[in-house]
Amino acid sequence: MSGFLEIRGLSARLAGTGQRLLRSVDISLPAGSVRGLVGESGAGKSMIGKAVLGVLPKAVEIVEGEILLDEQDLLKVPPAERRRLIGAKAALIPQDPLTALNPSRRIGPQITDRLVDILGWEKARAASRALEVLVEVSIPEPERVMRLYPHELSGGMRQRILIASAFAAEPKLIVADEPTTALDVTVQKQILKLISQLQARHGTALLFVTHDLGVVSKVCDTLSVLYAGKVVEDTTVQRFFAAPQHPYSQALLAATPRHTDPAASLQPVPQAVIDAAMAEVAADDAAWRPQGGAHG
């Protein structure tokens, strides 16, 4: 079965040193389903989201692979066309609501800009659509809020606005990049529920980048466990929590805090597991020859 988003054999490296950052990543995301991308810091989970949305830092170069969005390989489309495609079919829910809204622009235009400039909607239609999504994310007095500046709103409100903005154009794919990490714990839960509800209602495919396995168990259908830029386990959420296959997955699960038994939780990932995973990655690197081979 071919998903709405298909990442095949995606490898990326650092432009200067040639260090590998992503190692033949395969990810399939059927329309309307939710996949979690988990792993520790630096595992490359955010980078996959950025690669899909075409906003990788300049220092990162994609060496090979395909990113098929709605059956079109984004890496083969010219840049201007790629931007338009991504803007029309995908959206980002960013990590930090305090920095993701432009402080010198009012809320309204920050929601409607994509609809008007990229999708060519009439201004009035875009404005009424913005009101609609703001109501959907439970923003009180949406007309007033649209005229406010970001600094006049709380972090939780701003994240709701960013979620509304992401859903405004009815994208088929949303990348949520740790959307609750920067929020208070009490707000986290509401935001998570909100994203889940909207996703289900709109039938959006959701790529959920997180380091929090608790979040994964609540929101996702499937998940990919990343270690050093390599997918070490690709499974369903049910199977993962019942019986994780890869030793690193098992260690990761063991490291998750549990309310039921706080003393037994917070196990660090054993050194042996890290060594084994690194060896696996090294073996993988040894066998790897970039296609085309133009780069040393």
């Binding site: 949305l53 075409g54 906003v55 300049k58 201007a80 931007r83 338009r84 991504i86 803007g87 029309a88 995908a90 959206a91 980002l92 960013p94 990590q95 930090d96 920095t99 993701a100 809204l101 432009n102 402080p103 010198s104 622009r105 800009d113 994509r114 400039d117 990229i118 500046y149 600094h151 006049e152 960013l162």
Partner: protein, 336 residues
């Protein structure tokens, strides 16, 4: 109301500043060697003549006494009479002010246009050779002072490729229908674009000479700020919406990068006005600066005082204008 409070407190500090400036100028030009009397009398004048002339201009009294008399008159709007031209200082100075204002504002406009354009271009082409080229241009712009730019421009556009006027404010043969000294402004209002063209042709080189160092500062600072802003989260978010790099720079980054640049531009603009003194001299442009040099050479004490006070007023108003623009542009301050 914030703006009103800001303006009032600013006016108060302005007054204190001006009194301070007046005291310093008054004392300094009387303490330095050289005096106006020596310039007015032929060599070999008798001591009695010198004393009589000194008494006439009040220069026989102590500096403190002189200051009090002068200051009392200033409070009544009387800045004294120029020793060389025997005309009231106030009208002399106000007559020349528009010329200098037009030149400074023209220079500022040129500096902003060049500086902002280079900053945007440099940000768009960041990491490429073109950015290094812009950095080099900024470095040269910063390290060459305005009067040297003036000389270079005279050589380039006055001698090698004579397309602009080197000297004066307007061609002497022209009939001027103006009622104010704001020639450029008035020529536009009266739709006399032939005169506008002539005025611009005279103004272009001195304005450009004054503008280049400021343009380099604006370009350098704004580019730095833009390069940080284009990597912030909201700029990245705008890219995922489908916006091009140029659009991200212009509509996401620029409005947020302008503010930190603005404060510095204000300070630098006062330096630019200071620069008019030498640059006006260089281009024989009939403004305040040119007059200031004449006044110093002739030891025309009342005129020097008048000009310096006017420059001081100008500087404080520029700073006030910058602060108010800042408050107006920053939504956080506007609603405070």
């Amino acid at each position: 109301m914030l703006l009103l409070r800001l303006t009032l407190s600013r006016l108060l500090t302005t007054l204190i500043t001006l009194v301070g400036v007046a005291v310093i100028v008054f004392v300094v030009i009387r303490v330095v060697p050289g005096n106006p009397i020596a310039m007015m009398l032929p060599p070999g004048a008798s001591a009695a003549d010198i004393d009589r002339l000194k008494a006439l201009y009040g220069l026989d009294k102590s500096i403190a006494e002189q200051f009090l008399i002068w200051f009392g008159n200033v409070l009544h709007g009387d800045f004294g009479t120029s020793i060389t031209t025997r005309q009231p200082v106030l009208s002399l100075v106000l007559d020349r002010l528009p010329a200098t204002l037009e030149l400074s504002i023209m220079a500022l406009v040129i500096a902003v246009i060049i500086g902002v354009t280079l900053a945007i271009l440099g940000t768009r082409l960041r990491g490429r050779k073109a950015e290094a080229g812009i950095d080099v241009a900024n470095g040269i712009g910063l390290s060459v002072p305005d009067f040297l730019w003036g000389l270079a421009l005279i050589l380039l556009f006055g001698v090698i490729w004579p397309v602009f006027q080197i000297s004066g404010r307007v061609s002497p043969r022209l009939e001027l229908p103006f009622t104010s000294q704001f020639y450029l402004f008035e020529s536009i209002v009266r739709l006399r674009f032939d005169l506008t063209a002539d005025l611009l042709s005279h103004m272009f080189m001195p304005a450009l000479a004054l503008a280049l160092p400021l343009a380099a500062i604006i370009s350098q600072l704004l580019k730095q700020s833009l390069k940080e802003t284009v990597n912030l989260d909201y700029s990245v978010l705008a890219r995922t919406k489908g916006y091009s790099e140029t659009r991200v720079i212009l509509s996401e980054a620029l409005p947020n990068s302008i503010l930190p640049t603005l404060t510095l531009v204000g300070v630098q603009f006062t330096f630019l006005i200071g620069g008019t003194i030498i640059v006006e001299r260089l281009f024989s442009y009939e403004g305040l600066g040119n007059m200031a040099i004449d006044a110093v050479i002739n030891r025309d004490l009342p005129l020097i005082q008048g000009i310096v006070i006017l420059f001081a007023i100008l500087f404080t108003f520029v700073n006030l204008a910058v602060d108010m623009t800042y408050a107006f542009l920053n939504p956080k301050l506007r609603h405070a």
